[in-house]
């Protein structure tokens, strides 16, 4: 079995072969989109590059025309997922037509619908790879950790807005709470995948919003 994590295939040099999927940029983008779909479901270790290439009808030998190495492909996938997810977060958390806490609830609802749409098979690419870190290229560690940091900062800003608007106690530590949210949320996504249902997401989010009510009773 070729896996992203283990067996390299020989690098071929020269001009990229023509294929049915159009231009170089289009094919590269298709490889990224397909990689994201596969890795959010299966993680990294168990996935073969062959599998991804077959799905997009790209000949095996031409992979290295698009990415210098499997590790680099992984890094590009993490960056692309981070980018996609930052936009998803911003779409909810910066939508001032809702109160700050409602924006956070909207994100949760959006994420829940996303998991339901894929029958709870797909989770979070960053959570999957974080769990597998012991067998991944060491360069992924900092990158994955930075992605969580970025999501936490976006969440922290939303919580500060909730303080300014009087929805939560101004004494709460928004840095800790945002960190708590992402630590627990990844556990909830893991359980929702395992149990193929949204209840773990609901239980975690209810607990988190109860935490936000501290000092308001």
């Amino acid at each position: 079995m070729d896996t992203l994590a283990t067996r390299p295939f020989p690098r071929r040099r020269g001009r990229p072969p023509k294929d049915a999927s159009g231009s170089y940029a289009e094919t590269r983008s298709l490889l990224i989109r397909t990689g994201l779909a596969v890795l959010t479901e299966k993680g990294y270790s168990s996935v073969g590059i062959d599998e991804i290439l077959r799905m997009v009808a790209v000949p095996k030998g031409s992979f290295y025309h698009y990415f210098p190495s499997k590790e680099a492909f992984g890094q590009v996938l993490i960056a692309a997922y981070a980018d996609y997810f930052a936009h998803k977060l911003d779409r909810c958390l910066l939508d001032t037509s809702y109160s700050p806490l409602q924006r956070l609830r909207n994100f949760v609802e959006d994420a829940k619908q996303g998991m339901a749409k894929h029958d709870y098979r797909r989770g979070c690419l960053v959570g999957n790879l974080g769990q597998e870190m012991a067998v991944l290229p060491e360069s992924f560690r900092r990158q994955l950790s930075d992605v969580f940091q970025d999501w936490q900062q976006r969440t922290e800003r939303c919580l500060r807005d909730a303080q300014h608007s009087g929805e939560i106690d101004p004494a709460l530590d928004c840095v800790q709470l945002a960190s708590f949210f992402w630590i627990g949320w990844e556990g909830a996504v893991l359980r929702a995948k395992l149990e193929q249902q949204p209840m773990p997401l609901d239980i975690f989010v209810n607990g988190f919003f109860t935490l936000l009510e501290q000092g308001r009773r």
Copy 2:
């Protein structure tokens, strides 16, 4: 690469070969202990049975004398880990020389020390396999889910003791809180492994204990 998840090797029949590690029962037990150590670090998909057999100096061909299939080996490992962990939980949560909440804190401290001892490389076997469920034998799903259920029930009993002793509000929902604990704790173990430090465990546990203080201010 042979992995637990993919390539079966041919089953051999007949008497188990003699090996250096002693009796049949001893060798089987050694395979289980080694499997547990490897899977708590690396998960299931990326691990080859060859790797485990080499570590215990058991010839490749004799694996099927000890386990009927790789899937069965995985099931035995999950059951062995569940058993080991239930004892670990009971040792803390049933120790009446401490208050119920202190028992829960003792468990957390014990788990933290366990992760530190292995330099945050080893996490939770059930969390690892839960995350990988999309690529594992379907028989694992119910088994893993039942293990979480068991841990939650032990935790729930401890929280009820805390209600009886007046440490937490009698109105709190111990079922939900125990479930919340295990959902978030697995996320915290994931992050602690990724960041190779205990802070995610501390942040989650601090938040959880704050939740337990509801209604007491």
